[in-house]
């Protein structure tokens, strides 16, 4: 990062946009004290300040909500919110007081979460809310949010925005980092675009539009974001009947055709991921039958699902999608060791390398070579590895949960192309996404889920953000 200058005013929501690797996170880390700057100055209230470590940053009133959560799963919500004050205010835990204050903060931002619950038992969206409450438990002058909406549904995002507007009135300076331009135009006052570690200047939102921001970010216009594709849809390949999993999934049935891209929409907690995880046997389903080309399958483990030709790119890339500490080739080979080993399980090193290099080229994965650790790649390239794993085998059904979460626009387009390419080869594809526009852009058909049940189905000509939102909220059209 070099010579970035930008100003945030009190009572302003300042959006920071840019592709992955543009320097947003680095800037954040400097402000939070995780990194120290080489040169440059930081001013708060016109006074120059020194941020040498995270403690300095906190004392100066800088609150940060990271993309990756920093909650302690085994502790309660209340303890997590006041984590840095535990042990400071006295030897004994004042449980009543702690819970009351935690509850107050959560209520003040428009949510309700029982402060006694363990953080680890919360949904990802709820964890995000606790994360925000934690930042607000201190007097903040500057609040930085890194992709806060990535895991929230439309309703929760709205609540988050209300909170931000409230903070704005209290003269907090807010830095909002996001890939979602629609949100930025809804909430931000000014936008700063970062590209290749430098700033392209700050523009008031009122003087610009989506397309010009995207052009600033990468010189690509919005039209090309969702590539056109001709769907050649064949007969039904996959059918799920009465999939159930406790309260989360209730009697869900649907089918997917050959070459079709089916979208699963719904708010956070509507049971989208849970349904597909139950089908893949990643979680034990209570009941439900699965058919592939009309034949019923007994899928009791992910291993069986894979064997039958079903692949799944899970929602949480870093925890479940890839193994960060292992090289690209070992991640990719994981789905199909049979192809690169002899009868005794010995690895044909050359074959493995050729196979991996081929996939690296096909997916334009930016890696030094096939031996580079996946953890050292950017988010978009990690996601490509998570996909490459499954291109490695011939899957007949592909489940892709959040194909482009936390991925920059350039890589997004490449991932969309890849999904289209798979569909064209006749793979039946099921996609989950929290971004409605993404589903509308790539899917042939969308099923909307609500409270663990299918609440409606839309054909391509019926697609509209409003229709999907109405179905996910359970509001009927007049």
């Amino acid at each position: 990062m070099k010579n970035v200058t930008f100003k945030v005013l009190p009572g302003e929501i300042h959006a920071l946009v840019g592709e992955n690797g543009a320097g947003k996170s680095t800037l954040m880390k400097i402000l939070s004290g995780a990194y120290t700057k080489d040169t440059g100055q930081i001013f708060i209230d016109d006074k120059e300040v020194q941020i040498r470590n995270t403690h300095d940053s906190k004392k100066l009133g800088i609150g940060i909500i990271y993309q990756e959560f920093s909650l302690v799963p085994e502790l309660s919500v209340a303890e997590n919110i006041f984590l840095n004050k535990l042990g400071v205010t006295g030897f004994w835990m004042k449980w009543g007081n702690l819970k009351k204050r935690a509850d107050e903060i959560i209520t003040s931002i428009g949510f309700s979460i029982n402060p006694s619950l363990k953080a680890g038992d919360l949904s990802i969206a709820q964890q995000q809310i606790v994360e925000i409450a934690k930042a607000l438990s201190e007097q903040v002058k500057v609040l930085i949010l890194d992709e806060p909406s990535a895991v929230l549904g439309p309703q929760e995002i709205q609540k988050l925005f209300n909170t931000l507007k409230k903070l704005k009135k209290e003269d907090v300076a807010i830095i909002y980092i996001s890939h979602h331009l629609s949100e930025i135009f809804q909430i931000a006052d000014r936008i700063t675009v970062l590209k290749d570690g430098t700033s392209c200047g700050s523009i008031p939102v009122s003087e610009t539009d989506r397309d010009s921001v995207i052009r600033l970010m990468l010189g690509r216009s919005l039209d090309t974001m969702y590539p056109q594709h001709e769907s050649i849809i064949g007969e039904e390949v996959f059918k799920a009947v009465n999939i159930s999993l406790g309260e989360k999934v209730k009697d869900v049935s649907f089918g997917v055709n050959k070459g079709e891209i089916l979208g699963l929409a719904g708010l956070v907690g509507s049971g989208r991921s849970e349904t597909l995880r139950a089908i893949f046997a990643a979680d034990k389903r209570e009941k439900g039958r699965i058919f592939l080309s009309g034949k019923e399958l007994q899928i009791r483990s992910p291993g069986k699902a894979v064997k039958m030709g079903i692949g799944m790119v899970p929602e949480d890339r870093k925890q479940h999608g890839v193994i960060l500490s292992l090289p690209v080739k070992e991640n990719i080979s994981l789905t199909d060791y049979m192809a690169i080993t002899d009868h005794f399980g010995f690895i044909k090193a050359k074959k493995e390398s050729i196979n991996t290099i081929d996939l690296i080229r096909r997916l334009t994965i930016k890696a030094e070579n096939e031996n580079q650790e996946v953890g050292k790649l950017s988010g978009g390239n990690q996601q490509k590895v998570a996909l490459a794993k499954w291109l490695n085998r011939d899957c007949r059904v592909m489940i892709i949960d959040e194909p482009t979460r936390g991925v920059d626009i350039g890589a997004k387009v490449e991932i969309y192309n890849l999904i289209n390419e798979l569909a064209q080869k006749g793979v039946a594809i099921i996609v989950i996404s929290s971004e409605t526009s993404e589903l509308m852009g790539i899917c042939d058909r969308i099923i909307v889920m609500r409270k663990g049940q299918i609440h409606g189905e839309l054909e391509k000509q019926e697609f509209s953000e409003e229709a999907i939102l109405r179905l996910s909220l359970g509001v009927t059209t007049n």
């Binding site: 992910p302 479940h320 193994i323 789905t335 060791y337 080993t341 399980g345 794993k389």
Partner: protein, 318 residues
Amino acid sequence: MNPKTGLKKYLQFIIRYNTVFIFLIMLVVSALVSDVFFTSANLFNLIRQVTPVGIISMGMLLVILTGGIDLSVGSIVAMVGVLCALFTKTVPLPIAILASLVCGLVVGSLSGYLVSVHKMAPFIATLALMSIVRGLGFIFSKGAPVLVSEDAYALTDFGSGSLLGFPNPAYVLVIVFAITAVLLKYNVFGRIVIAIGSNEEAVRLSGIKVSAYKFSVYAIAGGLSALAGIITTARTAVGSPVMGVGMELDVIATVVIGGASLSGGKGSAINTLLGVLTLGMIGNIMNLMNIPAYSQQVIKGLIIILAVLLQRFQVTRN
């Protein structure tokens, strides 16, 4: 070249190959403080002493790579040692050896079953088996050492004999080491074991039967512990229920000195072998210097801390 960056480079090199350096330092120190260390008699003795721990350490390495631990190994050595001695009195030697190995495999499989199928914490499952198996050793032997049958002279001859200047059991260690090293580097089994220790859920969602691999590593550790028990019995011509008390800790220590991470996913066979030799040398040299047994334990512990601190330094550096 700037002398400071040159120094930094050397330092980084040393930290990276810390297991090798600790081993070399111990070697030099041993040579300096005792003039008997480098005699063939002492080296012969040293190698013979470390062989059982060395054999088990390869199994323990596999278990630790998956993120688990096996505390039952020392007890298996004792029980199998006793059983092997008893078997020699009733059945032909090859069958006695085979049956003893199977006993170890069964105990290891039991740990593996509890850990992989019932998702029991490895520490707890193997702690329970450590107690059960130790008790069984006493029950089978009625609390007294069991002499190996005189007809089984082939076993005792092998245990106490040597080939080309090296004790026979050392060749068993070399074979076990070679197989482990090859498995870890060139075989899918090793790959997946390491992957499980790195991120078990990601491996499961890739369609791999994680439980089968976890089961196997405990079974292998049990089998290798049995092998070590047979070799110990062969060397001493006695199966004793008090063999291998606290041995599990020595084995874990060697794997840790060898740079493996107890949370799994990191470790290698060659470094573990160096860890075995290092720990063996520490014991050996202290014996040569007539350091009392109690002080030996303190010093051994301190050296383990030192070795792991050096590895921590490496981690924080990255």
